[in-house]
Structure formats: C-alpha cells, structure tokens
Symmetry: D2
C-alpha cells in the first residue's frame, strides 16, 4: 500500500485532504460567487428512492400529525404540531463517506487500526471529525465532453480528465472539490431503474491524478464514484486509494445536471455532514453558490 | 390570527420568509467574508446528548465494523468497510423546524390545511420544500450585552433586541438569518444538566419585531427559541406567530459561543436541511463563514 | 355491513371471537395432546425473508457483539455480552392481525370509531387487548385434499372446506383455531419467489362459514389468508368480514407443512402476541402441541 | 470455569438445558392442566415502560392510522387499515436471554467462540436456535415464604430455595421451568420507580442448585434474575454460570403476582421466542395454563 498522505498532516490527523482547504482557499472559493445563485446538489430522500437490493431503506414515521387532530386529538391550547423520526441508513442518496468508511490491510487512513471501529462507532476518523467543506468546486462534465451520458461500465481515464478540465477552463488545485458528472443518475428513471452493479465512473489512474493534484473531496453523480463492475481482480480500488491512502472523502449520489444546465464550472461549494459521533458517513445537502 | 405573510409570495408558496433571500441578498452575504474562516454551529449528535425526557433518543447502529474483521469476517479481496444506520428523531440537537412543524386553528402557513399533514408525511410545507439557506447571519449576543448568560425564564424584550443590534452594529434587514445567543446551551454541562422546561428566550413582542424586519430564519442557542416557561395562558406563541403567520423557520440548539469568541457579528450563513420528503424538520450543520 | 358479532360479548368488548375460548375449550384442547410433540408454526425472521416491495424490511442491529471484544473492547471483569435491537414491522412473517388492523365504513369491530386509531396507537382493539390463544387447532389441508398446492388465485370454496373437514375428521366448533394449508408458502423458494399479489386463499363464502361455526382465529400459510387477486370489485373482503364483523383475528404466514407431515389434524394450539400497547398486530411463534 | 453442560448434548448442540424437555416432560406438563385457565406472565410493552437509563427505549410508529382517514386519506374501495412498526430492543420488558447473550473467557455455551457473534448476528446459539418452551412451570414464591417482597439487594439462598419448594409442594426436576417471585416488579409503581441497580435475586449457590436439578429455564419477576448489586468482586455470575456453563436461558421481567394470587404452583408453562435470525434474545409473552 502506498499510503501517500499518511503523516502528511501529523500522526493524529483525522481530517485528511480537507487540510488542503485553508483560509486562503476559502477566500478564493468565495470570490467565485457572482450571480448570487444557490443550487442544491442533493437528491430528495424518501422510502421510494431507488436503492441497491441489499441495502436498508429509509423509513419515515410521523409521531404526531394533522390526521390525529382531525381524529380529535387534544390540542395544547390552540397549539398543534407535527413531529417525526427517520430510520436513516447513512450511506443513502446524496451522502459523504467518512474516512472510516473503507480500508484495506487492517489499517485505515493515517494508520488507524481497524479495531478502533466497533459497534459503538468509530473512535477515530468518524464523520464527526470531518470539517465543514467550504472550497472551490470544479465540475468535470463528461456528458458535455462526450456529448452523452457515459455508458455503464465506462472508465473515466486520464485523457478524459484532461479534456474535462480543459472544457471547465480549470486545473485541479489543492483544496478543490472535484465533481464528476457521468450522466448516470440523471439518465435513470422509473422506467430505466438504476442497476447498482453497473455504472460509469472513475478509474484508478484518473483517481490518483486527482489525489496528486490535491483534491480535498471527490464527488460524482453515480453510486460509487468509481466504475462498476470493477476491473478484473480489484474491488473498490478507488475507495481504497482515495479514502485510505490519500484521506479524501467521497461524495456520492450528487445531482449535477442542474449545475451543468446553468453552465457552472467553478463555484463556491459548501457542504457539512451531520456530526454524528462515530458515524461512517452522512447524508447531506451540498450547495453550489454561483 | 394575524397571518401576516399569507399570500405574500403567492397562494401556493411553501418557502415563506426565505423568499426574502434573493440573489442580491446572497451576494451581499458572500461579500461579508474576509478571513476565510469557517465555523460549525452544530452540536455533536449522539445517544448521550441531553434530550427532554419525553423525546426519543438517537440510536446509532453499526451494520458492519472493524470488530467483525477482527473476529474473522471475510474481506472482499483486501477491501474492508464499515457501515451504519441511525434512528434519528428529526427535532434533535441542532435542527430546523420546517413550516409544517407547528400551527394553530386547523391551518398552517399560507392557509394549508392540517389535513395535509398525515402519517405519510407533510404533503405541503415539508422540509423538502425548504430552500437552502445562504444569507447574511447576524449574531445578537445577549450574553455580551448583559455580561452573563441570561437566567432561565428571562424574556428577550424589544429593548434587549435594540441593544443587541447596536452591539452588533447591525439592523435586521429582509433576508437576514438572526441568531440569538442566550448562553443557555453553553452554560449546561454534565453537572448542570439542561432543564428543558426552563430557558431564557424570545418573547412574542421581540419575535414580531424580527418578523416585521424581514428575518428569513430565527435561530437560537436554546431548546425552543422562545422563553420557557411560556407566559401565563400561552403555549408556543413564538412558534405559532413566526412559523405559521410569518413563514419563518426556527433553528434550534445552535452552538454560538465560538462565534462570539471570535467576535463575529455579521457573516455569511449557510445551512441546508436534509431534503426528506414530507418531514417536519431536519438536523443540520449550519456554518458561519467569516 | 352485517356486523354480526357486534355487541355479542357486550358493548365494550375488545376480544371478539376469542371469547368463544372458555375454560372448557382450553381443557378440551389440552386433552388432545398425546405424543408430547411440539411444533413451531413460525417462519424464521430476518432481513432476507421475502416481503412485498412496498413493505418495510426487518433490520437487526447488534449494539455489542463478540467482534467488539475481538477488537479489544474492555470486559466488565470476565463478563462479556451481546445485545441487539430490531426495527420490526409488525405485519411481518408469521404474525397476527389485531382487531384494529382493518375495517370499513369508519367503524371497527364492535362499533369502535376509526378516530380511536391515531399516531399514538390504537386506544381500543390494540394487540395488547388480545388474550393469549390456547384452544383446539384444526388443520384444513387443501394440499392433501387436492393432491397438490392450490394454484395462485384459487379460491377456497364451501365445498373444499367440507372436504377438508372430512379429511381432518373434524367439524369446526366454537373456539377452534382454523389453520388453512394452501401450499403457497412451502412451494416458494429462492428460485420461485413469492408474488405477493397472487395466491390461493379463502373466499368470502367459506370465510363466513368458518365465522358462523365459531372460529376464534383463522390462519393460513399464505400472505393474506384470503385469495389474491381479489374478486372483481372487492378489496380485502375476508379481512373486512372476519376482523370487523365477526371479531376474528387473522394469522398470516404460517408454516404448516411440518404439521401435515406428521399427520396432525386436531391439536393443542398455543400463541400469544407481544402485548405492545396500541399495536395493530404482532409477529409471534405459534405452537402446535400434539 | 466449570462448563458443566458442555458436550452433554453433543458438540454441536445449541439448545442447552431445553434438551431436558422431552416428549414425556411435555406430557407430564400438559397433565397438570385442570381448570382450563390461561394467565399471561408478560408486562405490557410501551415507550412509557420503565427501563434503565443506558438502555434504548421502544418506539412504536403508526405508518397508517384512522387519523389519516379522518384527514381525508383515500380508501381502497371501502377498505381501511392501520399498520405499524416498532424499534424494539430485544432485552426489553418480559424477555428471554438466548444462549449467545452472555459469556466469559472468549467462549460461550458448548465452547462456541465469541468470534461467531458479529454485527450480522450470532451465527450460533441465536434465539432462532432456541426450541419452543412447553414444560412444567414451578412457581417458587419468596413473597409468600417470607410474607413480603424481598428487600432490594436480598440474595436468594439455598435455604430459601428449599423453603419455597416445600411451599410449592414441588421438587425441581429435569426440564422444569423455574419461576422466582421476589416481589420486585409488583412493588414498583409510578411513585416507586424501579432502580435497576438494586434488586433481590438469585445467588450463585441457589442458581447452581437449580442448574444441577435440571432446570431448563430460570425466570424471575426482576430485571436480571440474579441479585443486584453483585457480590463484591463478581459481575453477572449467575448469568455466566447458568447461560454459559449450564446452557440455561434466563427469563426476565415476568409478571408473577397474578399466578400467586390464584394459588398456582405447578402448571403447564408455554413460551416461544420470536425466531429472529442471530438475535441474542426476544421479548415474548409466556403463558401459564392451569
């Protein structure tokens, strides 16, 4: 294992590549705002959203609702309210993988032992240790580059990465949040349901190029960021290399078509995970501010 | 009922006072950033956080963890991962109340019937209809104004509001996110546990003043934004008036001491709820960018 | 609506046809035991069991397990333990429908208003009001009668009921727990997955015959007791007639092949729902004692 | 560790002392029924039941209820229904501990390694492996023997066990389900809330006597069967000895006062856990048939 970023930010670091985002990077990102337009990059969350067969579903339960009052529930004075609870799998819909989500060889990012990750949660590298993400977002739009959604199983190569950066008039620099539009999510529908075993996505070479360029986060509009099925003899190589070796969190299930539709390529990107103690990820609602 | 903002943004509006935040307001907010410093205003979320006795607790369950591998679980190739699910009450910790959370007299904001809010969720005014919040944040710091955390049961009055605006060198303007630091949360501890029935907070007069000034969101570092216990003969008046009559979402359980500590009074405020279909609120991780 | 059993056991009754099971019926049932053999009639419960697409899945979470100790979790002295929680839909696998589960025309069994059934649970007719079931079980074995599992969509008729009673050498009498073996569940497999929209089951005429004979509970080895698809222009007629009009709880998803295999037709039947306050049903583990 | 029962029923046994209950024992138990009276020994289950502070609470959620119809929800034809889900900690209220619930020294009953118990559940000794319990129940009534509920912290000794057996006119024999009435649960109330750290209960000597006599299950009307606080320097010794060394499941939180009230001492006992794959226990509704 290469473990390129281990120790780079000290032996106790739990923030990984988000360390690249210093106050200067924040200011540069903020300076990109001109229109004052805000776009959400999140999918709606519901029990009906498509999920892989083996994965748990969201459940949303109303503990109190308007129906109860219609049925005669007593109000406290004139006050009425509705309240609810969700059973929420943390790697659902648009979500971020914390640095404790994936590893190999018994050690996680920065050498943390896998024995730190127990039923009580991740004692280290949990999503609660992930700083808020406020940095430059760069949209690498492969739909625009190739003229159509990438076909299932297509690998994003170094050449494609170069072409997409040119189209975006941007070179990935330290601290950038890189968003990959493959067209996968937007080309699914009720009729054309997602097959979570096949999707276009990042190959290892391109992933390493982004990591070496200093990407603080890598996100995509597909299910796993990386290409599925995996190259022969490999399993989640991009997860292993980016999360574990470079300390780069992955953002999955992004909604990127609206961003492309307004022509945005470089923008202020803002996202903040729910700080759930010891969790391995978090659904979130990332924003692009143009 | 006064229903001041009903119809103001059209008969079908579900965004309420967040309509005040136009692109100009976004640009003005962004222009406040100078240091490039980012502060999270969220409490950590865990099963151990203090909650009122009647309220459900968060549960965090690891579906797969490092302990399983230590016990001999088969790896897929060299890849190992951890995964988890939470049972998450939506009005927990630092969270936002959607416009369907509270009402009176059978009608919610903009005249929506309470019968639209059923076991299947809120057909209207759900948190999924709430736009992302990117606007000017203004910290009204009553701890600084009075020199100490406000005592439990203390009502924030019009006079106090004026004093705090003066101290912040800010006048609440349309679209502003108003954050009230009472000192309640920061003065609790394991030894001095929160009593959820008593807290300093907003009185109705001050609340109406903020609403009339065009606040898009009102937040506080206490449990209910408004003062507890309620004034004699009233129940959640501030909730009723702000949420229902003015369409103003409430942000509860904010962590504001660090913001005060760095002397921030006006800043770029960013928060985005999880877009859970039909939900009445959402935990979130609000940010101040200075 | 006929509402045949309303008022039969008093205006406040919440037990319905289980009132037929008096101490004499218990003694008669007990007297059937000769071999001392005990059979469970329940399906195993797991996240992998087949369920209809729209229905929630069971989740089983270990809050503490042996893997944690393998990973170094501290023991209290030498003591180690494992603990767990389930998210459990109550109409899952082998389960019983309480008298508050289904109705029509705004009123439930015995005239209870549907407004008594709110988000806080069923104030009346909840599964917590259902007495334990200890009575004579009678297996009506349509697989044996017809020589094969009934085909999907086949209706159990009066004639079939008569033939099955003859084969069982039993006439349904007041208090009997009637178990219908259609062959549906036992003929499903991983290759031949259940289609929850199609199954052999009880028709209304046969259902009414059982109700008039005094059945205290009607159970089956299928998903809905009654035939699917429903006869044209009807929806859950058997549920409506048995549960609402006769106060007869339904037992669904039974495992009956082993009972048939040992030649049991009349036996001591024992089942007891979890007494969850206000719940509409309960998974349970029914027993036949031969 | 003594590991008295390991290997007694073969190296692969997962049923433990319930192996004592053969068909002869079932017949003997059934022959005790004379009145035809059925008593449930279970506490009601609800979110309001007292639980230890650190333990999760039950949540009960209605996915559909009468309030929804009152609010105008569309009916399918005339059919209406209510449906629900619980978040159910498995060691709640009246429940049974499976043989995988507690252990010491890295090995469970019959030598099973603790590494078999992972986030995916117990591969061995799960509650799904526990046979239904149909055997003679014997009530050992220490409230009757001593004239009052045992005080908190009182240890049930060998002498007390002898006195209680004499009073019950019963000697514990192989296969018996032994039920210990300490008076703990029945003497708690809203005013006198249970302190889960203090209770009367079984001492190790008495526990071993029951185990040696062939008890198939040991149950009690308290929280942990055994005395709390633990004797100096020990932790859950009775759990360790009975569950691990003798393969005896424990039944906790029983309601025994009504059984005592009707003078029952020997009776048909029936209980069956929910067969949840890999679970460490199960709430259940045990019955005494007199």
């Amino acid at each position: 294992m290469a473990e390129e970023a281990w120790g780079r930010w000290g032996p106790d670091d739990e923030c990984g590549a988000l360390n690249f985002v210093d106050s200067e990077a924040v200011r540069r990102a903020v300076s990109l705002v001109s229109r004052g337009q805000v776009l959400s990059l999140a999918q709606p969350i519901s029990a009906r959203m498509p999920i892989p067969p083996a994965r748990p579903r969201l459940s949303h339960f109303m503990a109190r609702d308007g129906g109860d009052y219609a049925a005669g529930a007593r109000r406290a004075g004139s006050f009425a309210f509705a309240d609810d609870t969700v059973v929420l799998p943390l790697h659902l819909g648009t979500h971020i993988d914390a640095l404790c989500h994936g590893w190999c060889g018994h050690r996680l990012y920065n050498g943390v032992s896998e024995t730190e990750i127990r039923s009580t949660g991740a004692a280290r590298l949990g999503v609660d240790k992930m700083p808020p993400i406020v940095s430059r977002g760069v949209l690498l739009d492969f739909v625009a580059v190739t003229g159509a959604p990438l076909p299932d199983g297509e690998t994003i190569t170094l050449e494609m990465l170069t072409a997409a950066q040119e189209r975006a008039d941007a070179t990935i620099s330290p601290g950038d949040v890189v968003l990959l539009r493959t067209g996968w999510l937007e080309s699914r529908s009720a009729k054309n349901k997602p097959d979570f075993d096949k999707e276009p996505g990042l190959g290892v070479e391109a992933a390493l190029m982004l990591a070496e360029a200093g990407a603080s986060v890598v996100g995509a509009d597909n299910y796993a960021v990386e290409v599925l099925p995996f190259p022969e003899g490999t399993i989640f190589s991009v997860h292993q290399r980016l999360i574990r070796d470079y300390g780069i969190p992955l953002l999955e299930g992004l909604v990127l078509a609206p961003l492309a539709a307004v022509g945005a390529t470089k923008f202020l990107f803002v996202a903040a995970a729910l700080p759930i103690a010891g969790a391995t990820g978090s659904p979130l609602n990332p924003l692009a501010v143009l």
